[in-house]
Amino acid sequence: MTTPFSTLDNQTAIVVHGASPIGRNIALGLVHHGARVASIETPLTTRADYEGWYADVVESLGRPSIVVVPVLPQGDRQPIVGLSLDAWIADCEQPLRDTRNAVQAAFGVLARPHGNGGCIVLVAATAALTGETGLAAYATACEGARAMARVVARGWGAHGITMHWVGAPTALFTNEDDAPRMAMWDPALGRGPDAEHDLASAIAALASPAMAFATGTTTVVDGGLVMPT
């Protein structure tokens, strides 16, 4: 799978939520691209937890240059009117806070002059772009992550850090076999992505030297299903 365009040889990547299906597949895919990958598999909630794990990675695999953070839902589809406060927190506030913690902690290991710079990629559902019935809370977290990628890219560029948001079909995150269709047309490429190959390749490309001058981007990897304006 390694290509000259996206080779990650000699780079260390951290993949948060590596125990989730999407996290595991992204981690595997980045290994195919030549990276040393640290998969953080424990559900974490605090910045201090992330900082501890990142410090362990620096010690065991070397200073990372890539941090990948999937934004994950916790519950099932529910309409807004029937959503409990606990369910709202679990699907909106907690994933957004978790993403913030993972990103804030990354500053300490990536930012120059102490770090060597690097790339942070948030991976979330395209429900962020389309809105989605029954997933209002989770879509809100995903779009918050997209806004976070843009504003942090602006703030941390001077520290040698680039940041991107990668969107993938919502069903990859919710693990639904019968997710409602939000797009009018079939995917242009005739299929949906698989995380190990398609998503990881896009992330590897964004983190590669070839894309060093791109930051704050939205990249949708769905085979041409949702084409955001």
Binding site: I80, L83, W88, C92, R97, G131, A137, G144, A147, V151
Partner: protein
């Protein structure tokens, strides 16, 4: 000038959060000028009373309600009081923002306290306000409008937490629009740039941003809350936007063009 306005919201009841000052007060004022019965809600009751008094003095009809949107009970009570006083509820404008929102803090230094307050006011309050107003908006085939921000669309580095959370509101707005469309409720957002106390405070601390902001707008000025932001908001609240839902109306004088 008010005498020349079309009463586009005549007979409608509109509730505005965070309406004690700034864009919220301005939008509430304009809604009153175009015929709406307005519920001016704010955390500080004196501020709400002053804005409602101004609307009434100008010949409109408004009531003031104390409402801290971080309290579910306050939101439920406010909605109940609106319906008790006016008998119905056609439009909700969620405008309230946290006092942290205009305080410049680098992303790496954003604290839990700062973050939690902004989430509580902008996001959790939107969720609670949506639940509290739903049955009334169904009955009225009403309209819900979020006051968004271009900071959530292009990113404003001095206020990264605010940018993140205002961006997040857009997906909630779109999802609400999809869920509530079948009941005839429309849900949209306005992303304004207008002179408000919060913007003025922000720009006084960020002179470079102030200079760039004024130069960048095609209309070469910042907006006026009543006359520039009020009409587009009233449009989204009223019948003339009957086929518009899930959209963000950027009202920034042609500053950033999305």
């Amino acid at each position: 000038m008010a005498d020349e306005l079309n009463p586009t919201l005549a007979g409608r009841v509109v509730m505005v959060t965070g309406a004690g000052q700034g864009v919220g007060a301005d939008v509430a004022t304009y809604c009153g000028m175009v015929g709406a019965r307005v519920a001016v809600t704010a955390r500080k009751p004196d501020a709400a009373t002053a804005v409602a008094g101004g609307i009434n003095d100008a010949g409109g009809e408004a009531i003031a309600i104390r409402c801290d949107v971080t309290s579910r009970a306050d939101i439920d009570n406010a909605v109940a009081e609106v319906v008790d006083r006016f008998g119905e509820l056609h439009g909700v404008v969620h405008n309230a923002i946290s006092s942290y929102s205009s305080q410049p803090v680098p992303f790496e230094d954003v604290t839990d306290e700062n973050w939690d307050d902004q989430v509580a006011v902008a996001l959790r309050a939107a969720f609670h306000l949506a639940q509290a107003s739903f049955t009334h908006l169904v009955a009225a085939k009403g309209s819900f409008v979020f006051m968004l921000s271009t900071a959530g669309m292009e990113g404003s580095p001095p206020v990264p937490a605010y940018s993140t959370i205002k961006g997040a509101q857009r997906a909630f707005m779109k999802s609400m629009a999809r869920e509530w469309g079948p009941q005839g409720i429309r849900v949209n957002g306005v992303a304004p740039i207008a002179v408000t106390p919060a913007i003025a405070a922000f720009l006084s601390r960020e002179p470079i941003a102030a200079e760039r902001l004024a130069k960048r707008a095609a209309l070469e000025r910042l907006g006026d809350g009543v006359w520039d932001i009020g009409p587009p908001t009233a449009f989204l609240l009223g019948p003339e936007s009957r086929f518009v839902t899930g959209q963000t109306l950027v009202v920034n004088g042609g500053s950033f063009m999305f």
